[in-house]
Subunit: 341 residues, 2 copies
Amino acid sequence: MKEKKVTFADIAAYTGFSKTTISRYFNNPDSLTLENQEKIAAALTVLDYKENKVGRILASGRTEFVGIIIPNLYMHYYSEMLNQILATYETYGYKFLVFAGSEKADVEKRYIKELLAYNIEGMIILSGTIPSKELASYNIPVVGIEREDQYISSVNTDNYMGGVQAAGLLSKSGCDILIHVNADIPDSVPASGRIHGFVDICREYHMPYELILTHLGNSFEENRERISHLIDQMEAKYPQKKKGIFMPNDTHANVLLNLLFQRYGKLPDTYQIIGFDNSPISREAVIPTSTVGQQISVIANEAMKLLSEQMTERKKRRPVLPKEPVHKVIPPLLIRRETTI
Amino acid sequence: MKEKKVTFADIAAYTGFSKTTISRYFNNPDSLTLENQEKIAAALTVLDYKENKVGRILASGRTEFVGIIIPNLYMHYYSEMLNQILATYETYGYKFLVFAGSEKADVEKRYIKELLAYNIEGMIILSGTIPSKELASYNIPVVGIEREDQYISSVNTDNYMGGVQAAGLLSKSGCDILIHVNADIPDSVPASGRIHGFVDICREYHMPYELILTHLGNSFEENRERISHLIDQMEAKYPQKKKGIFMPNDTHANVLLNLLFQRYGKLPDTYQIIGFDNSPISREAVIPTSTVGQQISVIANEAMKLLSEQMTERKKRRPVLPKEPVHKVIPPLLIRRETTI
DNA sequence: TTGTAAGCGTTATCAA
DNA sequence: TTGATAACGCTTACAA
């Protein structure tokens, strides 16, 4: 406790060098003679010096902090994305200040204010409550992931391609009718691409299709009830017909699958199901479920790469700031398992 | 970009007060006259002042940073724990620097070094690779969660009680033989309590039981294969008998359930299954699975409470450091669903 | 209630 | 290759 920490001043006193030289030892060692490097190195171990980055931040303005705002960690998609983002520490060295779980614009604005107070160098945002226009106004590098991104750089899954892949697979499976269940997403959100991709392919192949754009509820119980309802509707409307169903994500695909299993003891021949995300539940379901897989690790790495480039650029004396935000698009991977042919 | 930031000096110049007074406005506003408070408040908006906490940290030594080291975010238990820990920001105001996903002692030591370089005030650690003795030597408040905790404070689920609850439920379900599958955990790890609780109750009730202490593999495929093997073994050893199986967690319980479903199209009457954790998969399984539920939110909050107390104590001029680490134990919640009577 | 002045531990700028 | 000195933005005695 009471032991004061060893500082550059102590090392300087001990070695007879100036603080500047000690600083240089850390930041530009080659500017010292090898002999002196060794002297200082020895002093460090003798004195048991521990780095203190706060002084450095204050003097240099570089925190190496990146802020993350994430809607929740309950959904696997988000927790795995965070996982992958955190893993980039090994590559880029940025530390992450993480806020999660609000989903309310005013609360998230508080989070951002706090992050800015710590001089974060950049921000990755997965939450969609704050308009990108406002995010851009904070004047630090920001990369969005799967959210509205008109005024900020972003990395997204190629959702349109995902819709195309899902519809393509289902239409090849001999289905009579293709159904896509999803929330009614505005076009500004990348995920809306899935709907367009799905529709375009259905039209192109002249496949009968239906869009069921409805909110499936906020709890597992609500999901269950509404999806059960959906089954009733579909069976009433398309009896006997072979239905190819593209669910908005693997969690909901799993609920559908379980409900059908409970009704029929198996997945009836009149159903084909495909989910989205390739989250663990798609493999852990009663029957491994086909899905359009998001390449979470690729997305996370691209996001950090993009952010890191922008942060590095800013540190230069005459930064060339990109006038236009950069939008990267990562292709999804179609994963065929046992709920489709 | 080029706009320099507004500092206390600017506000002081603008208002005619000293920097000290500006500082006081933020830290102890009541020590100023209401009139002067208003003057400063006005200046803040005029100048568009933005907090900079780095200076404060340097001057005061208080970072309000808490470090978190977590094995991974792939398992729901960890991601939900992180979720709940992050949520305590609203209560305690500590910001979290998060590292995840190494599970290697040397890497995690690097993480800790980095955290210490940023003057974190305390640490929550879920990872078990670094012995608590070493953690204690860092001389900052540390709280462990479900890990070896001899020399550090900790919050754990009452694992023994969990084992008791599981064995109790299964023995009431008319089983002929009780089986607990688990890894071969050393007694220093809290989770070992489950095994002891299970065994003690089986003995007390004179229930025949078997412990299968084996590693179930590191991937879903391995889990599947080994659990399938387990079923073969159990069916060979206990044909016709009603088997009550206590799995080490919900993920593995789900794999077992799915395998049985695939073999028999349902959960046979000769099986009763109970998992551990109450993770989402237990509700999302083909048949909602009984489980011994961990109270993650309670654990997270208790951990932060404990840590916060220790951090607050340290800030006092004459801190009373606890000689002995504090260990809190949170009771599990038995959740009966459809895989047990 | 307010101000002065000395830090906090680095880095940056010059100069040597 | 090295050093002196002034920042960086805020807090904290101590003084008034």
